[in-house]
Assembly symmetry: C2
Homo-oligomer: 241 residues x 2
């Protein structure tokens, strides 16, 4: 099975900069066809783990630097996966008619309602990010009744039914407004790292739209890309590397 092959290659001691065996050889060793090996290698290449080039063996670039889809959706899941202690303080939950901009972001009809949630996110006791999320009312209902200290809204939604399939992220810098400044404890005008994203289900219907504003120096994003394919990861920022 392709997934097993993938794992065996990923943890297999080929080392960084090492050359992998040929596809034919891998197929023999694992008792599968070359097509199966190629499916596994395609995933490794997409995640920046190995190179590929006609005429030469594949080379190991490094271990997987990307994160699961779940980790990119959920601050809680991401923090836990990295040994951090995620926290959340709900500042606002509101059900109301969608504005024109919001309707566009969620592809809603003119009279549609949304649920808006504003939460301060922490690592340990340190404020890190202010999150503003809007859901179509139908989706957001599962969220509206949660206690203010509850952590992963993503997990709640996941259990409620919706299937998260694709996300589109936009990353830039924005000056902190008064709301940001008060919640995050920074000065108005401080440059914050902003990530906006729309997440859709398998048929392309938006499930949520979120704008996260991170204090400088708390988080960075990494992306691997090649001529054919790329991948995204979110990381804690380190002093300098």
């Amino acid at each position: 099975m392709a997934a097993n092959i993938r794992a065996s290659i990923e943890s297999g001691g080929f080392g960084i900069d090492g050359r992998l065996p040929s596809e034919e050889r891998l197929a023999e060793e694992h008792g599968v066809s070359r097509g199966t090996i190629r499916a596994a290698l395609a995933l490794l290449r997409a995640n920046g783990v190995v190179t590929s080039r006609r005429g030469t063996r594949r080379v190991v670039l490094g271990t997987a630097r990307t994160q699961s889809f779940e980790e990119l959706l959920s601050f809680t899941a991401w923090a836990r996966a990295h040994g951090e202690d995620p926290g959340a303080r709900t500042l606002r939950v509101q059900r109301r008619p969608a504005s024109a901009v919001e309707r566009e972001r969620l592809q809603l009809e003119p009279d549609a309602e949304i649920v808006e949630v504003r939460r301060l996110r922490l690592l340990g006791r340190t404020p890190v990010m202010l999150e503003r999320t809007i859901y179509p009312a139908r989706i957001g209902e599962a969220i509206a009744g949660l206690p203010a200290e509850s952590l992963s809204h993503t997990a709640v939604l996941d259990a409620a039914g919706p299937v998260f399939a694709d996300s589109e992220h936009m990353i830039d810098v924005v000056a902190a407004d008064e709301i940001d400044a008060e919640a995050l404890g920074c000065a108005v005008g401080t440059g914050l790292l902003r990530e906006m994203r729309r997440t859709t289900d398998p048929s392309g219907v938006p499930l949520l739209w979120s704008e996260d504003r991170f204090l400088p120096g708390t988080v960075s994003f990494t992306v691997h890309n090649s001529a054919t394919v790329t991948a995204l990861a979110r990381r804690r920022a380190h002093p300098e590397v």
Copy 2:
């Protein structure tokens, strides 16, 4: 051929939110095997153009939002592709021994030399970004002799031989230092959007390491990702969307 199939689907009038024909049907229509169709669809899925889910037809998510590898490497290529007028002013070109950090970034031996280039990048007459790039001396030599107004160093390198295969990007916010402030015409401490990247050749050898600092509001990065794969794009920032 898979590439043709891809193009025909991409420009084929299935519309946004439209369902694609089944793989078998597409194979018939184009006179190829299902495997070929799947190869083409895999690329479209990787770039966020279509969804895929077992049991249901594929759905069109939108037109390609990603850019070519070239556009992600070259500010000049990117700006031109978007109808902008790219400019550059070289502030510094220096050949010197690599520091410890620089050796790590380029995976160099202890006594290695580098070429460092610092350039102000413009769109029209407006300063947008300060770029600090280091190359292994062997690579950087092609750059060192160029006139200060020359635009695309990437194009020069490309013509000189090296093959750019993979890039690893890191995106965060950093406070402008005195050099940034003077070059970009902003205050010291202004939050700048920072992109650092290492670009390697097909065998994993680093060809360059670059740190770009963008004025706020000038550029943003977008990434599409799904459970299996993601993609990166750089865009001019628009007032609000």
